[in-house]
Symmetry: C2
Subunit: 206 residues, 2 copies
Amino acid sequence: MPKVGMEPIRRQQLINATMAAIDEVGLAETTVMRIARHAGVSAGIISHYFGGKDGLLEATMRQILTDLSTAVAVRRHALEDDSSRAHIGAIIEGNFDRTQVTGPAAKTWLAFWASSMHKPMLQRLQNVNDRRLYSNLCHQFRRVMPRLEARNAARGLAAMIDGLWLRGALTPEGLDAEEARFLAHTYLDQLLAHYGCQQPASNTYS
Amino acid sequence: MPKVGMEPIRRQQLINATMAAIDEVGLAETTVMRIARHAGVSAGIISHYFGGKDGLLEATMRQILTDLSTAVAVRRHALEDDSSRAHIGAIIEGNFDRTQVTGPAAKTWLAFWASSMHKPMLQRLQNVNDRRLYSNLCHQFRRVMPRLEARNAARGLAAMIDGLWLRGALTPEGLDAEEARFLAHTYLDQLLAHYGCQQPASNTYS
DNA sequence: ATTTTTTTATTGAACGTTCAATCAATAAAA
DNA sequence: TTTTATTGATTGAACGTTCAATAAAAAAAT
């Protein structure tokens, strides 16, 4: 039933179907037929729109990374407070955004993470994202502490965020976003407390 | 060239070869032939000793988990100091043990971690290990802080350890064990500082 | 307004490849 | 001679990709 202008619709359908399939059976058992069935189309269409399975997987990872960046950027631009604490808090909140943390996205995220160890293209994507998180954190920490300490604080918080993600993706019940945010913010408070920064006026995470 | 008593030797050879193969090309492209070539034997031998590829993969994950547990247990039994700080410090040190952190083991570890999301047997193994780490940490923290705080400290430190592992496995240069240990110990100090515990006499990680 | 032509979207069977598992044959050690 | 260890060609299943065929929509022609 071909109508014109199907391309963007199909691309999005197939990307969503890829995440659903990975959530369902894992990347290893995600075949083009299973993805196609999820999207309600035939298998051949994948090669038509993405040049092949690899192209679709790459596009899917791209989308996840873009969504994550957007979630962080939106919260940072909405800040009234320009303190480093507020900026870092926004980064934490963005990283535990609802759309990212929910089932399919989280499992797809971890699957690509593991896969990126041996696929240069995915590794490149993952690296770019990683560096941005680290350099953003580092820049904000440097506003309130010396270079070396800022570097360590940034690495520590980045590891904490990733670790919470990882554990969330692995537990059958999925990530408890509230608890994760609480732990990350508490850690942030501890990092900043050593340099005499004032506590935030309201700590609104339970 | 069959000699008697080959079984334990071959089993270990094949487990090591499996880690080498995963380190080299990733779990997705680790075939029985590649493993066999690494071990210098034929492909058929894998089914003979492990009942199939899945059996070998399971045995490999078992070995990694056992090695990790042993590394922690050895350090905890060697403690002169019985303080909670010393015990938790030993858990950290064990988790960043040299044999675990080095190339093949780390990448195999992460690969299985991702894979365990959809393979019940691996998930079971991973869960048992996970609970032991958490409950050990929780038990030690409870010696110096209230229940709820101990729970959060344990979850935070567990996430930090996993996050450092994850990032270490992903960076091309591999995990910088010294830095990881330093960050984990610093975090531990921060957690304990809130409850007025004395700082350790000597902080011997650079 | 109808019919014809062109364009665009989609299908699904066929093909070639890859892989894990099997097992009869083989060879060294007991 | 018997037992144990190992091989490697073979088998069958599963997968990604391709492509000729098809059908709907849009455009052009009547």
